[in-house]
């Protein structure tokens, strides 16, 4: 195990972390604003990938597939929130069960529409090359993933910290009742955040589909990892989601490379410990 090994694994871990940031930041915001444990978040990821596949098959354009998939799934998310979750009121157990009921429905729908085969989303040729930096082969696609996550993260941060809208969201995260009291329309905020969360998860699905593949069961594989990101980072905090994604991405890569037999254990055990000690996560807002 030389420097090359460590650098390559670190790079892979960071780029995987970039993907996890897309999935985790949405989940974290949804949890922060609505206190909903959304078990259909993994389905948004998978459905995003599938919709992108359909767009690519019909139009041949990968670039077009990204916004179409993300917006379609955002619409699905809004419909779910408006029609089913909002009228349910606040009961964590019923919310969880409802979202999981939907996850099962989405699973079956995906099987019917896109069959049970494994697919890959092929990015344009320009992104499939590698560049060599100091003797390391760095796939351009992974660099693209890191770039996308950075850009999205930056935009989200600007919106959250610098705009009135963002201030309203932060107020809702901190104390929804108080926010309503000062005239913030928390219902509208919830809808927007749910749409944003679904949008980001689907975006992750399109981008991640190139190296994870798109296959049945990916939804429930991605879901707990996204939760690990949210919990380690802290619920409802963007910076937390970024750190959580990086930690989980690196832990996952090094865990699988160094001690494969306990690699998932090394991911979820810290998650449980953090929850036991500080339920809001390492960087969560109190």
């Amino acid at each position: 195990m030389n420097t090359q090994f460590w650098l390559t694994q670190a790079f892979n871990g960071i780029s995987y972390g970039a993907l996890l940031f897309l999935v985790g930041s949405g989940l974290s915001l949804i949890f922060g604003v609505m206190r909903i444990v959304n078990l259909s978040h993994g389905s948004y990821f998978l459905l995003g990938g599938y919709v992108a596949l359909s767009v690519i098959w019909t139009t041949g354009s990968w670039l077009l597939a990204i916004p179409v998939a993300a917006l379609t799934i955002a619409a699905v998310g809004v419909a779910m929130e408006r029609v089913f979750l909002r009228p349910l009121g606040f009961d964590p157990l019923r919310q969880v069960l409802l979202t999981v009921g939907f996850a099962f429905l989405f699973q079956q729908a995906a099987l019917d529409i896109w069959t049970g085969n494994n697919f890959d989303i092929n990015p344009p040729d320009a992104l499939t090359k590698s560049i060599v930096v100091g003797g390391l082969y760095l796939p351009l696609y992974r660099i693209f993933m890191i770039g996308t996550a950075l850009a999205i993260g930056l935009v989200l941060w600007l919106v959250m910290e610098k705009t009135r809208m963002g201030a309203a969201v932060r107020a809702t995260v901190d104390d929804a009742q108080m926010a309503r009291g000062v005239g913030i329309d928390t219902s509208r905020i919830s809808m927007l955040i749910f749409a944003l969360g679904a949008f980001l998860a689907a975006l992750g699905g399109v981008i991640g589909g190139a190296f994870l593949g798109i296959y049945p069961g990916l939804d429930f594989e991605m879901l707990p990892i996204a939760f690990a990101v949210v919990i380690i980072g802290g619920m409802g905090s963007l910076g937390g989601a970024a750190i959580g994604a990086l930690v989980v991405g690196l832990a996952d890569n090094f865990g699988k490379a160094l001690f494969p037999e306990v690699s998932y254990f090394t991911l979820y055990a810290p998650m449980a410990l953090i929850l036991a000690v500080k339920p809001t996560g390492l960087f969560g807002r109190e």
Binding site: L88, V100, G101, F102, Q108, F220, I231, E261, P279
Partner: protein, 331 residues
């Protein structure tokens, strides 16, 4: 007769009917019922937490996994538990699962509401991660195939004999759990579910109550696992995965949380839909998903709650008619 006696009588009659009718059907139905009964023990164990203590666990499959993997590893590696020592495996399965619950409980019990959901999810994932990745012990993704069922005087390879064994242990579990929830300890659990702060003020050690309930539920989960291993003949990470925990939760809610037998009804409905309907129509999973969504939206108290809801509705209408009758007098 008190209404509670009538309810117990109905359950006993229904169980007797199952014990008499099922063995006389075909082997498909017998296997289906055996699976549902074995899994029902897990669902009932979860109901002790969910329905009686107010702790919705998203990681109950971990205990099923401990029991099942223990059974499979002992049987395939050491040829242990295939004769009279099967009963020893039953005891070990319960103890190991209870021990795991004792460890997990230390971390989880303090959390409430959404955080309890999340932490049990994380703990369940720990168990799944080990089952999935620890190839040398668990066989990884492929799992472990059990070649034979135990034989001691009776031959459990015979599906009717095996059905009776599972039925017997199921009935014992139901009786024990029913006794538990009707005991003073069970009453305090319900008190904690309704209002934990008040129980604390009354001097109850609510943490210890919840912790003990968690361990007991884990033990029953282990028993379910031992039986599940021999029922299915294969143990794999599929048994420990998040969706298995969620299934158990949904079955409990579908039947009606806080009723024990509700979970059994839920298990039979879900297993029926999944394994029977799936052979008939391709859209069975839509039916299952729709059943879940509709139950949560319109039947928060589950199927067992229907009679109560009907009674309330009838009372409400009767009330309204009384008011109408009185109306001319008062006006």
């Amino acid at each position: 007769m008190k209404s509670q006696h009538i309810k117990v009588l109905i359950v006993v009659v229904a169980l007797a009917a199952i014990a008499i009718i099922i063995p006389n059907t075909n082997s498909f139905v017998i296997l289906l019922a055996t699976r549902a009964l074995a899994f029902s023990i897990l669902v009932m164990s979860l109901d002790i937490l969910l329905g009686y203590t107010g702790l919705p666990s998203l990681g109950q499959a971990a205990y099923l996994g401990v029991g099942a993997y223990l059974t499979a590893i002992l049987a395939t590696r050491y040829q242990f538990g295939l004769g009279y020592d099967f009963w020893l495996v039953v005891v070990l399965g319960i103890l190991f699962a209870a021990a795991l619950a004792a460890i997990f409980g230390l971390l989880a019990i303090r959390a409430t509401g959404v955080y309890f959901l999340m932490i049990t999810l994380a703990l369940g994932q720990c168990a799944w991660g080990l089952a999935y990745r620890w190839n040398s012990l668990t066989g990884g993704d492929n799992g472990i195939n059990l070649r034979a069922r135990p034989k001691f005087g009776i031959d459990l390879a015979n599906e009717v004999t095996f059905f009776y064994l599972v039925f017997f242990l199921f009935a014992v579990s139901l009786l024990l759990m029913y006794t538990l929830v009707r005991s003073p300890f069970g009453r305090s659990l319900a008190g904690i579910r309704e209002r934990e702060l008040r129980m604390k003020i009354l001097g109850y050690n609510t943490w210890l109550h919840k912790y003990i309930a968690f361990i007991i539920a884990g033990g029953f989960g282990g028993l379910a696992g031992v039986l599940w291993a021999h029922t299915a003949g294969i143990v794999s990470p599929e048994n420990v995965v998040l969706t298995t925990s969620v299934d158990a939760l949904l079955m409990a809610v579908l039947g009606g949380a806080g009723t024990l037998v509700g979970g059994v009804i839920g298990a039979f409905i879900v297993f029926g839909l999944r394994e029977y309907l799936s052979t008939l129509v391709p859209w069975w999973q839509y039916a299952l998903g729709a059943v879940y969504v509709l139950t949560i939206l319109y039947l928060p108290t589950g199927l067992m709650g229907i009679p109560e809801r009907l009674r309330q509705r009838r009372a409400a209408t009767a009330n309204r008619e009384d008011v109408k009758k009185m109306a001319p007098v008062t006006s």
